[in-house]
Point group: C3
Chain length 319, copies 3
């Protein structure tokens, strides 16, 4: 096998070949992505925002689950690299004709695709696809089930580094529905690898995975205790499905205990920054005064996300 | 504030910064757009129809209301200017996740968008957005509720100028559902600004706005009287919703009184031209023999519309 | 009329102007397309897969019937030729506004389109459109009703030629639902024109057109007899609609008699190749061991299909 058996994301030379998860990704590769992204964030502020690194390459946005926002970030990033982008929302046509995901992908690959951006409701779908495509094709996981959302995790790391420079003395809190969040999983893996000494997860028992401590995080059920003296506040989106389910009494109740308000944020360090992966539920997990306030870095996250996706695509295309 | 307080479409230098409505747009800017469009209509007839004026710029087609036709004209125009175009049909994904229009736009803007083409069912939505985006972003209204459809109005003016050269001695009739028409509103404002001495509106009382005379137009309920000696006949599309509603007895009835037939058109000047914004309801507001006849300039309108949209985008990008 | 009256696909010089059907297409043009495609298959294997042959041209994917797969092949092919591609799924917007196909096409043509790729559920729709567009516009049929799917037929011919070099001594079997298949019709016309001496069609009586022998093919109802000593096995997709209808007892029954299994394939020549237009119904018309086996050329068909579509577009654009 041409891929690294101990880490299916890397090639034989230990270089990034697919981006499937931040779990087990070597620290050097994380830094490489963050450094490369920095140069692209500069590109996107120039008058002409295009570079020819992916000219003639075909990037397929393969979305088995709709997400206008995530699809758009990858589309913009690929176009700024001069790639040809094909958007495929796979729920109707081929799938309704009873074709399997692997047959769909094999067919698209035979069109000489260079890269697939895969979003799928099933955890592990991008891994499965990566094991079946030709060696010259690269897979980027754009969110799979509850498993991982690595480019989101990376842009969060970029944002933290941008404002805090260094991970080695940070106290970071991740708040909300940890149990169902692929974002939280990606964040915890990346923070750990980058040397963050203290990661706290804050949420009600019903929304925390059992044995979450094994990931090396500290668990808080009381948000006021958990926020004390943190440098970084990472809010999670509360899926509306959860609010209707049995896991939560109500959105109002959640907001009371775990919504980020100005008075709760005051318990964090005065220079603490607030992140959110979007889209926000204002008045559920975050108050508008905080979302739009001086400590919020939620919109810069989006900007940095384009740079991160350009970095990942250009690194993959070069390996 | 960096925008001109007396006209939020203009910057401090009085140049066009957003295109939201033709109401209040200075005459000089109207002529600038019409003149610029003329050079682009030439471009679209060349072998290679591309110019690099928007290379590296990101144009977002932000359609909160579907319109394949209008979206396509903007997409084609932007691609001929070498922009990167992102199409977003916002009804499912983000909006169904409960995010507000302003949060959606703020997020897209953070991806370093340069221009938003906005279509929305609510009157005023593009204005609202224009007040909340960063100063380097330009908004073009592609139709908002009953309020305005400025690029349609501009391409109508381009068409009239192309065939009649000069507005200063024209008699123009606008016919049909004036009440619900954003197109009619844009036409009346532009014609007035460009010096058209006589604008007539023709329609049943139920489809005319009350006090429409205040716009400086002459009102006719009898189409044969209204068409007498006009130089330009501007038909409006009858929305099928109206036909089912209480405002009209039936499509047949409407056609009898307000459908443009050859015998009614014969009352206009022999060199009168016929415009329609499309899509046409043949046999409702217009007879096929007129739509496809020698006085119809309906298809040239579409061609000129690409030039107008290229002109607006390139002017905005330059200011 | 500027088109050739005896063959509406050709211009006065006998060159290809539209690609509507393979029926009646001169042999020299078939070879021209196959030869041109060969050079493009080389292009798609280069590092930078783009050529500037259609730069500044506007190619409209006009899909009145959804087909993600076919639309994608044309989109990729057009982008590799550097065209601007506009995707239009016409079922909602304009059509629901009651506009006719010809009005829709006339409008898009007025936007200075250069080429329309047309997919429509009604047989003959691309012909109808080709008769009404301006002479500088080219139409490619991407599948119309039960009538024709010429680029699929061409890529099948390319594939056969690639593996068998020469048509003049081939025995070819086409298997399955011949009655409803536009693909089978295109294949039979092309094979005949290219000099294939023996074409067999194999299927149950209910899925064969009456008088199919008039096309010069041999009819078999028993698959084991029909496959004996053939060089090329062309499977057809069984539409799931048929399985629910009265024409077939069940998918299981069909598979038993007409599904391509290893033991049935063993009756063909040992170097026989297996084709399928996709998407496959594994376990209905083809067994997975055959679909993924050493004689299957199903994925190369897809790759060659991009080259064929690039060839057709570049030939049309040059004529």
């Amino acid at each position: 096998m041409w891929l690294n058996p101990s880490n299916p994301q890397l090639n034989k030379n230990g270089e990034l070949h697919h981006l499937l998860t931040l779990e087990g990704l070597p620290e050097a590769i994380l830094w490489q992505i963050l450094d490369t992204a920095k140069s692209f964030v500069g590109v996107t502020q120039r008058e002409v925002k295009k570079v020819p690194l992916l000219r003639g390459k075909a990037v397929f946005n393969l979305f088995f689950e709709p997400s206008t926002r995530t699809r758009t970030t990858f589309e913009i990033a690929a176009k700024r690299l001069s790639a040809d982008v094909i958007n495929l929302a796979i729920n109707q046509s081929s799938q309704s004709k009873g074709e399997s995901v692997l047959d769909t992908v094999a067919n698209l690959a035979a069109m000489q695709a260079d890269m697939f951006i895969v979003r799928h409701a099933a955890s592990g779908a991008p891994h499965l696809i990566s094991r079946h495509v030709a060696p010259e094709i690269h897979i980027i996981n754009a969110g799979d089930g509850r498993h991982a959302h690595p480019t989101q995790g990376l842009l969060d790391m970029f944002t933290i580094r941008h404002y805090k420079q260094d991970f080695s003395s940070l106290r970071v809190a991740i708040i909300g529905d940890i149990l169902h969040s692929r974002v939280a999983r990606s964040q915890i893996h990346a923070l750990t690898t980058l040397g963050c000494p203290e990661i706290r997860v804050i949420g009600p028992k019903t929304l925390l995975p059992s044995h979450v401590e094994k990931l090396g995080v500290h668990v808080y059920h009381d948000m006021r205790n958990g926020l004390k003296d943190v440098d970084v506040v990472m809010m999670l989106r509360l899926q509306s499905e959860r609010m209707q389910g049995a896991l939560l009494p109500s959105a109002q109740e959640f907001y009371k205990y775990y919504g980020l308000t100005e008075d709760k944020l005051a318990l964090a360090r005065p220079d603490a920054i607030v992140l959110h992966p979007g889209p926000m539920n204002r008045g559920v997990e975050i108050d508008s005064s905080v979302a739009d306030g001086g400590q919020s870095v939620i919109l810069p996250q989006v900007t940095f996300g384009i740079g991160i996706r350009m970095a990942v695509m250009s690194i993959l295309a070069g390996n």
